[in-house]
């Protein structure tokens, strides 16, 4: 597993095979080939320290975790070997060893548990659920209700809009002066008699606001046309009806509104 002859840049990675110092300790413990409950913690500490020492000689960059554990193990080892002073308030070496043994067993148990979990038949690997669930049962699963009609209609409308104009601008609710000029254009030169201006308003204006807007726009357009001499305007009294008529001579009516 550890290849001392490997190139230096690979040696740095040697410890990467272990998921931390406890994992390394566990692996070393397994090499003692005895039950984890009967493991010699002292022997294990020696193995670990030797392992780390050897890596140091190879000038490996050893992760701080591993060095901290090495120091801790060296401390535990010294306490296991030396008689305990009377006034000692440090944890007993035996407790430290027991705690370490417990940790190793715990990690070993979890590693085994993980492996046996992954060895079980798994959904989507060894057994399968309905590939096309009909989304009826789970209470939270949405059921999308789009009828074919909605789909086709949506596309029909899109196509209609596209066919008409590349630029889609929402038509304004209100008549602009330009709109009014365009509306009046066909009448130019064809109004020999006085006609009420309001007769030139669009039909089906709907609400009052739109009516007033249309009237204002049409009046403004009429004023402009009168200024240009293309129509004549008349109002008999204040707030009375406004009348519109073509002037006696008209040359260029066709150009209006182009």
């Amino acid at each position: 597993m550890i290849d001392a002859a490997a190139p230096a840049e690979q040696l740095v990675l040697d410890l990467d095979g272990y998921e931390g110092p406890i994992d390394l300790l566990l692996n070393l413990a397994r090499q003692q080939k005895v039950d984890l409950t009967k493991i010699s913690i002292l022997a294990l500490a020696d193995q670990y320290l030797e392992f780390i020492d050897r890596r140091k000689e190879l000038r490996l960059e050893i992760a701080a975790d591993y060095l901290v554990t090495a120091a801790w193990l060296a401390f535990m080892k010294s306490r296991l070997l030396l008689p305990r002073p009377a006034d000692d308030d440090e944890p007993a070496a035996e407790e430290m060893a027991a705690a370490l043994a417990h940790r190793l067993k715990l990690l070993a148990a979890m590693q085994t548990a993980g492996r046996s979990l992954m060895a079980r038949p798994q959904l989507g690997l060894d057994f399968f659920l309905r590939g096309a669930p009909e989304r009826l049962a789970p209470k939270t699963a949405p059921v999308w209700s789009v009828e074919l009609y909605e789909l086709l209609r949506a596309y029909g409308e899109l196509t209609r809009h596209r066919g008409r104009a590349a630029l889609t601008v929402e038509p304004s609710l209100f008549l602009s002066m330009n709109d009014a000029l365009q509306r009046i254009a066909p009448y130019l030169g064809r109004l020999p008699e006085w006609l009420a201006l309001i007769r030139l308003l669009p039909d089906q204006l709907g609400d009052e606001r739109r009516r007033r807007s249309a009237l204002a726009a049409t009046f403004a357009a009429a004023l402009e046309l009168a200024r240009q001499g293309r129509i004549e305007l008349r109002q008999d009294r204040s707030f009375g009806p406004i009348w519109i008529k073509s002037p006696p001579v008209l040359h260029d009516a066709a150009e209006i509104g182009r």
Binding site: R130, A132, S145, R153, Y155, G156, E157, H161
Partner: protein, 192 residues
């Protein structure tokens, strides 16, 4: 021989159950080790499920298990969450259906507005559209297509079964007053 047949039947059953999309007879035959009489096997399986709560039905150019149609009413009562797709999502779905494979930019061009964040996500959630690779053009944009689930939902065997423009026009679907946003029946402003 009969044991073999039994195993093939069981395997076909499991394959059809596990498949996300209807399986064609060719695919099934292949998965069963080049079975020559796949039609017989399917007929046998379909007969086994006839009159049951789940039936083997022909769908989307293949075979799939579906809950029995006569139970629809009772099953429908179980639908707790019925969600409507947004107007934008329906339009986008339609564009993907008719123009696939299509990029996001192309969808936006057709709709004349940019796609809101989440519209494609919502469609993906329905399982009716999916990204199917990338276009070999600058930026390598994702291209979108509909799924077999789309066909199954709208009851088409193939995409060619989607009505074309002439058919839409004939059905009057090109000359309707547009629905406006969410309040299609709310008497809002008219767009046209």
């Amino acid at each position: 021989m009969s044991g073999d047949r039994q195993r093939q039947l069981r395997l076909a059953e499991a394959l059809l159950f596990a498949a996300a999309e209807p399986l064609s007879e060719t695919t099934l035959a292949e998965r069963l080790g080049g079975l020559p009489d796949i039609t017989d096997l399917i007929a046998e399986l379909a007969a086994l499920y006839a009159g049951r709560g789940v039936n083997l039905v022909r769908l989307s150019g293949g075979w799939a298990f579906r809950t029995a149609p006569d139970l629809a009413l009772e099953l429908q009562a179980e639908r707790r969450v019925t969600r409507k797709l947004s107007r934008a999502a329906v339009e986008t779905l339609a564009i993907i259906a008719y123009h696939q494979p299509v990029t996001r930019a192309e969808i936006e061009e057709i709709r004349g507005v940019s796609l809101a964040k989440g519209t494609l996500d919502a469609l993906m959630e329905t399982g009716w559209v999916r990204p199917s690779g990338r276009r070999a053009s600058p930026g390598r944009p994702l291209i979108w297509t509909t799924t077999a689930g789309f066909l199954a939902h709208f009851g088409f065997d193939t995409l060619a079964d989607l009505p074309d423009l002439a058919e839409l026009r004939a059905a009057g679907l090109l000359d309707l007053t547009p629905l406006t946003g969410d309040d299609a029946n709310g008497g809002g402003e008219h767009r046209g």
